[in-house]
Structure formats: C-alpha cells, structure tokens
C-alpha cells in the first residue's frame, strides 16, 4: 500500500524530480500540442455539466426555446426552477425525496462501517481456527452482483413485514457494503505494526481496549476513505432504491425521483436541470472537502481490491 500514501492530487514541488517520463513525452509531442489536447479534453469534460447548470437558472420558456449558450447574449435569471423542485408538495417536486436521501444515507454509512470494523479486527488480529478460509469466503462474496440477491431479499422483507420502509434500504445497503468494507479495513489494519498491539496486550489490555485505544485513532483516514465511498455509492444509487422503495414516494430517494421525472416528463428541462443539480450538490461538497481521503481509498481499493 505504499502507493496509497502518495497524495496524487497535490502538485509536487517542481524542483523535486528533474526528469520525468511525461516531461520527456511532452517535449516529444511539443508541449504546445500537449496543452491543446489537455484543454480540449478538459472542456469536453466540463461543458455538458456547465450547460445544464446555466439552464437550471433560466426561465422555463427560455430553456425550451433557445440554447443555454444564448444566456451570455441574453441573460435571464430565475430561481423558480429550484423553488418548484424543492417544494415538498406537488407532483413534480423532489423536496421529499431529497429529505429521504439524507435519512437513507446516514445509517447506511454508519452501520456497515461499524460491523466491518469489528469483523476486520477479528480477521486481522485474533488467531482462530478457520480464519483464512472464512476471510477468503468474505473476499469472494465481493463478486456477487447485487442483482442476484434482489428478488429473494425482497420476498424476505415482505415476509418480515418490512417492505416499503426505510429499514429495507438501510439493511440492504449495509449488507452489500460489507465484503468490500471488511476487505479494505482489514488491509488497513494489517499495516499497523504488530509490536503496537503486542505491547498493549502485554500491558494487559483486552481486545476491546486495543480496538478502541490503539487501533481506532490510527484508522481515522481509512474510515474517512471508506465512509466517502459508501456515502457516494448510497447517495447515487438507483437500483437498490428502485427495487425496495420504487413504489413508495415517502421512502424513495432523490435518484428515484429524478429518474421518474426523466421518464415521465423527459422534456421538462427546467425541472430536470434544477433537480439534477440539487442531487449533485451534496456529493460534490462531500467529495471536494474530503477528496484527499477519497483518492487514498481509491488507490487502496483499486490497486489492492
């Protein structure tokens, strides 16, 4: 995991490495063409979002009759789109689903991380019979696509009288997160020097004390990394929510609301643009403020898992 520690998004000091592959490659391509190519990609990657962002502030009539680029010659600004999307009443409003997204995401992050922490600790630091076999089994469960589990899970929820409640979504997201969470947290825990754990044991600390006093403080970055992953995955999920709450607007998250709006009112761009931006805003904020941890987790998960 040595690569995971490299903070890749920060620009390293220019003087640190005098020659780099890419620097030479760039010289070969002539740096002007290279810059041009980079700018073209960057523009292609930003323009679609930018266009929808501008549109979300334009009046309905303007959106439907002229392109968003005319905004610069004829700027008209309104917040009406956001008002109709965010209100908690009306057929087109996403206000309720926005609230539901928060109610869904918080337990769906806390529960699997806590359970995975306990399991990862047992796998990493407790010697018991069949440990490796069980760990490999958990690791292998990562390949099960959630599609395979949905219908039997749904009938289990119906039998338990839980269908159409938040419980189904909380439980499902927690289960689906476990294999990867246990695997990643186990890897992070294994990196902690065994001497630290041994020293604590010699001092008479039990597993619970070691868990809280020695490991938890060291694991904060790993928890943040996986927490963001899980947050983005749950907030942006459509399949799980559609399966377990598709028919219950009181429970459905904003992704379901948006997908429905897109299906039934595919040309209501004043609603779709504002709705999309409301749904995008929260993950972008979380993402930008915790990007460092996200990249770390990505590299640990990508290169190791």
């Amino acid at each position: 995991m040595s690569t995971a520690a490299t903070p890749v998004t920060t620009t390293p000091p220019v003087a640190a490495a005098p020659v780099k592959v890419s620097a030479i490659a760039k010289k070969g391509l002539s740096s002007r063409w290279a810059s041009l190519a980079a700018v073209i990609i960057a523009v292609l990657w930003t323009l679609p979002t930018f266009g929808l962002a501008i549109s979300s502030f334009r009046p309905e009539r303007a959106i439907k009759t002229t392109g968003w680029w005319t905004f610069f010659s004829n700027p008209q600004v309104t917040l009406d789109n956001y008002r109709s999307v965010l209100s908690t009443e009306g057929a087109n409003s996403l206000g309720q689903t926005f609230v539901n997204s928060f109610v869904i995401v918080i337990p769906s992050v806390i529960i699997p991380i806590t359970i995975a922490l306990l399991a990862a600790y047992a796998f990493a630091w407790i010697d018991f019979k069949g440990r490796n076999l069980l760990f490999v089994a958990v690791f292998a469960l990562q390949i099960v696509p959630i599609q395979v589990t949905l219908i039997p899970l749904l009938s289990l929820y119906v039998d338990a009288g839980l269908s159409g409640t938040f419980w189904t979504i909380w439980i499902s997201h927690s289960i689906f997160a476990l294999p990867l969470a246990i695997f990643l947290l186990h890897n992070f825990m294994k990196e902690i020097p065994p001497a630290l754990i041994e020293a604590a044991r010699v001092d008479g600390a039990g597993h619970v004390q070691i868990f809280f006093r020695v490991l938890m403080p060291l694991l904060t970055p790993a928890l943040a990394a996986f927490g963001i992953f899980q947050f983005l995955w749950v907030w942006n999920d459509l399949l799980v929510a559609l399966t377990f709450a598709g028919g219950t607007p009181q429970v459905a998250p904003i992704t379901v609301g948006l997908a429905n709006l897109s299906g039934t009112r595919g040309t209501a761009w004043h609603l779709l643009s504002a709705g999309a931006f409301v749904s995008i805003l929260i993950p972008i904020i979380v993402f930008l403020s915790l990007q460092r941890y996200f990249v770390r987790g990505l590299l640990a998960g990508g290169l190791k898992g």
Binding site: V8, P48, H207, P283, L288
Partner: protein
C-alpha cells in the same frame, strides 16, 4: 404507520441508529468481559457474528435462491430446465441485449482508460495539475442518474422546422456545421454508443487518478537511465512507462469492465431500455419488475454473475503476480 413528515423520518432514523449502537455495545461488553488468551476464539466469534449473519442471509442465501429460480417459469412455480437461458441466447430481443452488452464491455474500459492515461501524462507536472485533474475527476461524484440527465440534455433534439432552435449542444454544433439535427437517442445502434459516452465520461477520472499515481511512482533512476541511453519520447512511453504501470492498467481496465457489466442506471434514465438500448443489467430489472418474468430475470442475473467471475479472477491473479514481484 411509516412516518411521512420530515421530523418523523429523522426520528425513525435516530431510533434505528440507537438500536444499532445498543446491539454493538452489547457485543463489545460481552467481548470485554472475556479475559485471557484462551477466550480469543469467543471474542472473534462475537466480533464476526453480525457480519457473517448478514452475509449469509443477505448475499449467500439470495444468490443460491436466484440460481434455483432461474430454472423456473415466469411465476416461479413450474420447472422449465434451461429454457430461460435458451431464451437469452435465441430470442431476437435478448440477442440485441447481448450485442449491446458486448459493445459496452469492449468499448468503455479501453476508451476510458486511454483518455485517462493520456490526460494523466499531459497534465503531469504542469502548473495547473491539481485543478486540471479535478475537472476530469468531478464526474465521479455525480450519480449515474445525474450524469445521464446532463448528457440527455446534450443530445436533446428539436424538430427540424423553420423558427425552431436546437437546445441540445450536439445538434447545435451539427447545425452550425451545416448538417441536419438528429434525434440521437432513437437510432440503434448509434444510441448505445452515445450512452457509452456517458460511462466513459464518468470513468475516465477514475482511470486518470489511479494511473497518475502509478506514473508518479516510477523510480527516477529508471527514467534517468533511459534518458541517458537516448530513448525517444515514444520509446520512453513504450519501454518505460507502459511496463511500469502495467499492473495498474490491468486493475483499471478490469475494474471499469466489472462496473460496465453492471451498468443499469444510465440506460434506465436515458432511454428506459427502449429503442434497442437495453443491456443485461437493465433487462434483468425490466424482466423481474416490469414484465413480471421472474424466471428470465433470475437467469439474466445469473448470467451477469457468470460474466463477472472471469474478470475478477483475472484481476486477482494479476494482483497476486504484481505483489509477488
């Protein structure tokens, strides 16, 4: 019975969290009372039981159940052998689904990885590196649903009549170049490739981040040695960069490949699987929940599972190999 007010929902949420905290506290309390090294086994048992139970009930049992179900008919009552699988590989609708899935899996990983690699090299060590990377990286935070809406707006079509202006960027560019506007999402198989663009747009940032880290990890002395040998820029890429980042490349390609196989949200939001754009993961949903054909839905889910296994196996083997080195 279920709360409908915002306050009620959050109250329920806190209740759920409290119940969960109570359960975990009990586990920790019991584990804490068990002293001495002999009790290790019991501590491990207490720590593992919640995870193992959840995985057994929530993943293993449903998985086996679905495999079983895939040999039954639409209501799940009559045993029909491998007929559902025959349908997938013979009915003309399902063959289109398979064809589209092949397009997705073949095109997306390679194009997204190439763009990510190119961009990582282009902006490496430039003055605006952090900012330039953030631009490409940001789509990763956006939901597939949001991304699909963003791109549907780019592809938006207005009838080609006097006085009607195009509001979609793609058609506007086409009109400015003297072409006729197209209803892009209707034409198969072009529409599938336009949906693939959305996935590439999202995944290129992932490829770039991982590959950029791999490029930065290449030891300076290797590069210096190659440079002293007078290796050209292209030679440097071919003989130094590419071999050094090979493990990362494999991981990126396979990770995107697995993600692409399971892609559902984009197709569902952009076209709903209409106009011959459906893929296996979307067809699973349509058959299971819209067409109420449980058997076929289960068979499609199992097919998805079977398709994912070799990619994951290859991925794991590559990781083992690169770690052993």
């Amino acid at each position: 019975m279920h709360p409908t007010s915002t306050a009620g929902k959050f109250l329920l949420m806190f209740e759920a969290i409290l119940i969960f905290v109570a359960v975990v506290s009990v586990i920790l309390f019991i584990a804490g009372r068990l002293g001495g090294r002999r009790s290790d086994r019991w501590v491990a048992f207490a720590f593992l039981i919640p995870a193992v139970l959840m995985l057994l009930v929530g993943l293993l049992y449903p998985g086996i159940r679905t495999i079983f179900q895939s040999f039954f008919d639409a209501d799940g009552n009559g045993f029909i052998g491998i007929n559902n699988y025959k349908t997938i590989f013979t009915s003309s609708d399902q063959l289109v689904v398979l064809r589209n899935t092949v397009f997705w899996v073949v095109v997306t990983p390679f194009v997204a990885t190439s763009i990510g690699l190119l961009y990582a090299i282009l902006v490496d060590k430039s003055r605006f590196e952090a900012f330039a990377k953030a631009l490409i990286f940001l789509p990763m935070a956006i939901s597939f649903v949001g991304a699909s809406i963003i791109w549907k707006f780019v592809y938006e079509y207005r009838p080609d009549q006097p006085g009607v202006k195009q509001i979609g960027l793609l058609n506007q560019v086409l009109v400015m170049l003297g072409g006729k506007p197209q209803n892009w999402l209707i034409d198969s198989p072009l529409n599938t490739f336009l949906l693939i663009v959305v996935m590439i747009w999202i995944q290129a940032g992932f490829a770039m981040t991982v590959l950029s880290a791999a490029i930065k990890a290449i030891p300076d002395d290797i590069i210096e040695a190659a440079r002293l040998d007078g290796v050209t820029a292209l030679g440097m890429f071919r003989f130094v960069t590419l071999p050094s980042i090979r493990p990362a490349l494999v991981v990126v390609l396979t990770t995107i490949g697995i993600g692409v196989l399971k892609v559902f949200d984009i197709v569902r939001t952009a076209t709903g699987g209409n106009f011959d754009t459906s893929v296996v993961a979307n067809e699973f949903y349509s058959q299971s929940f819209r067409a109420s054909n449980q058997g076929l839905g289960a068979a499609l889910a199992v097919l998805l599972f079977i398709l994912v296994v070799p990619i994951v196996a290859y991925n794991v083997r590559q990781m083992r190999a690169s770690e052993a080195r």
